[in-house]
């Protein structure tokens, strides 16, 4: 081996060892600094200042902030977190940097509005985000729909929802559903039929598989709530007639109160309890249900959203 080759080999080995050692040391430093997660830091919190500092490359910076918001929400949601402190500022920065980034309004509101652990539980910030979007994209009917949706689902403000749907319905190329929702709101505000109509609209109008899966999960939950309410009413009627609760659905069938064994939206039969209650066999598969859960049921920290059809 020549002298030059020897130097090459020795320094290559040193280079590789230093690289490995630096990685190992950095991992060790990370373990020591457990509380110092970079994720929870916004170095520049003013969207306007960031826009100026971007030197005209605000589009790329907005994409970076949007990706950061998605990652932040995804990680928190996965961990079943109850606080999403940075979510609203990240979304506000994103949309000030690029006010035409419709995806940030549409998904951002879905991240912000629902109660934890499904979202940040900030419906007011979600509406403010959407209204900023409407200001900059007045013809994007989806934004009006989102405002109405949050008013309806999270704030139970049916007048606000009707007003948002009506505003959206006036835009050119608005989805026909908006006018229908605005009209039906006065008549059916607060009932299950209205909620089903809203989630069906979300399901049919979105192109995203995650939003569709979420809408499908809500539609299944509404179906379960309705099934359980109806079945428990039948059990009560059976008890009035016979003085006891039925021990199986076939007894309800025999009494002429039911046709066939009722199945949940995923095709499993419901469980009939001795006290007349009706329960799901796999409640974990039905996040967002209000009925059909066992007494001691604790939902998983992160809701299990099954893929839509």
């Amino acid at each position: 081996m020549s002298r030059s080759q020897r130097v090459t080999v020795i320094f290559s080995v040193f280079l590789a060892s230093s690289l490995i050692a630096s990685v190992l040391l950095l991992r060790r430093v990370d373990q020591v600094r457990t509380g110092a997660t970079l994720e929870e830091v916004l170095y520049i919190s003013s969207p306007q200042a960031l826009r100026r500092l971007s030197l005209g490359y605000n589009g790329l910076l907005a994409d970076i902030y949007w990706t950061r918001a998605v990652q932040y929400y995804g990680n928190k949601h996965h961990d079943g977190a109850r606080r999403f402190d940075l979510l609203a500022p990240l979304l506000e920065i994103t949309t000030v940097l690029d006010p035409q980034l419709l995806v940030a309004y549409e998904y951002g509101a879905n991240f912000l509005a629902p109660k934890p652990p499904n979202g940040a539980g900030m419906p007011d910030r979600a509406i403010a985000l959407e209204e900023f979007g409407i200001l900059n994209n007045p013809d994007a009917w989806q934004l009006y729909y989102n405002v109405g949706f949050i008013h309806y689902m999270e704030l139970k403000n049916y007048a606000g929802a009707a007003e948002a749907f009506a505003r959206g319905a006036q835009r050119p190329n608005a989805h026909p559903f908006l006018a229908m929702l605005a009209g039906k709101m006065a008549e059916h505000a607060g009932d299950r039929q209205m909620a089903r109509m809203m989630w069906s609209t979300s399901y049919q109008t979105t192109k995203d598989i995650n939003v569709r899966a979420n809408a499908a999960a809500h539609l299944r939950a509404l179906q379960v709530d309705e099934d359980v309410t109806n079945l428990e009413a039948l059990n009560a009627r059976y008890q009035q007639q016979t003085g006891r609760f039925p021990s199986s659905f076939s007894e309800l069938e025999a009494a002429g109160l039911l046709r066939g064994t009722p199945l949940d939206p995923l095709g499993q039969s419901y469980k009939l309890m001795p006290d007349g209650r009706v329960e799901l066999r796999t409640p974990d598969d039905f996040p967002f249900i209000e009925k059909g859960m066992p007494f001691d049921y604790t939902p998983p920290p992160s809701p299990k959203i099954l893929p839509s059809d």
Partner: protein
């Protein structure tokens, strides 16, 4: 005259290629490939936006760096190596030297941009699977970026005609930053009164308006660029470039090279 300018320009281009300036294309290709593949997995619904925003921003920034760091050496390097005296001892006028240098660097940047544009469109095809009609606006944004390069190259040449390479780089980069705030500057000028207003307005119009030449974000959203803006920006960039080259020629003509 034209052949002398062309000769200096082609030598400048060859020298830039010899300096491995076009190696930046490899970094650019890696950046675009990574963006096209990774973004879909870590974000939602912005693959096309990222390819356009990242691609055009990288074209712009890489080109700016090349324009500044090659531009600052165009005159000083020739003086340092004493090759300038050989050139000027031939029947070459000083202004021809400056204009030739400008076209050489502008050509290098145009070739660099051409290859990067191919990279942007290949990445776009990868994420969208087909080209859309509105993708033609990306070409307009690329054209505007080349106009920015022309202005910056001329300005760097102007600074390098009388200043050291380090100071030329600082001046050129500062003007790029100030030029990106040109519209804000005009807004500030509008808020002042009297002589300050005249001075601020003068300064706002004197610095190059790079923000008017930046349509990256709007083309990423498929928003059209008006033909009038294309015409006006082209005329503005050519006039401003001519102004900076004239300044460089005037300074260089009277510079004592002994």
């Amino acid at each position: 005259m034209t052949s002398r300018i062309a000769h200096i320009a082609s030598n400048t281009f060859r020298e830039a290629v010899r300096d491995r300036v076009l190696y930046n294309l490899i970094v650019f290709a890696l950046l675009m490939s990574a963006a096209a593949v990774v973004v879909g997995q870590i974000s939602i619904d912005i693959e096309r936006l990222v390819v356009i925003n990242l691609g055009l921003t990288a074209v712009s920034l890489f080109g700016m760096v090349i324009a500044i760091f090659i531009g600052i050496g165009l005159v000083s390097k020739e003086i340092e190596r004493r090759t300038l005296y050989t050139v000027l001892s031939r029947p070459v006028r000083r202004w021809e030297f400056i204009v030739g240098k400008f076209f050489g660097l502008a050509g290098t940047l145009a070739v660099n941009t051409f290859f990067m544009a191919i990279g942007v469109f290949v990445a776009l095809l990868y994420v969208s699977h087909h080209f859309q009609q509105q993708d033609r606006w990306v070409l307009v944004a690329l054209y505007f970026i080349i106009l920015q390069f022309l202005i910056l190259t001329a300005l760097t040449l102007f600074f390098s005609s009388f200043s050291s390479p380090l100071l030329s780089a600082v001046f050129a980069f500062s003007l790029f930053v100030i030029g990106s705030f040109a519209e804000d500057l005009r807004g500030f000028a509008g808020m002042t009164h009297g002589a300050t207003r005249w001075l601020a307005t003068g300064a706002a119009y004197l610095v190059p308006n790079f923000s008017a030449l930046n349509v990256i974000t709007s083309v990423a959203h498929s928003q059209p660029v008006s033909g009038q803006l294309v015409l006006d920006n082209s005329a503005y960039a050519l006039v401003y470039t001519a102004m900076a080259i004239c300044g460089a020629v005037l300074v260089f003509e009277h510079r004592n090279l002994k």
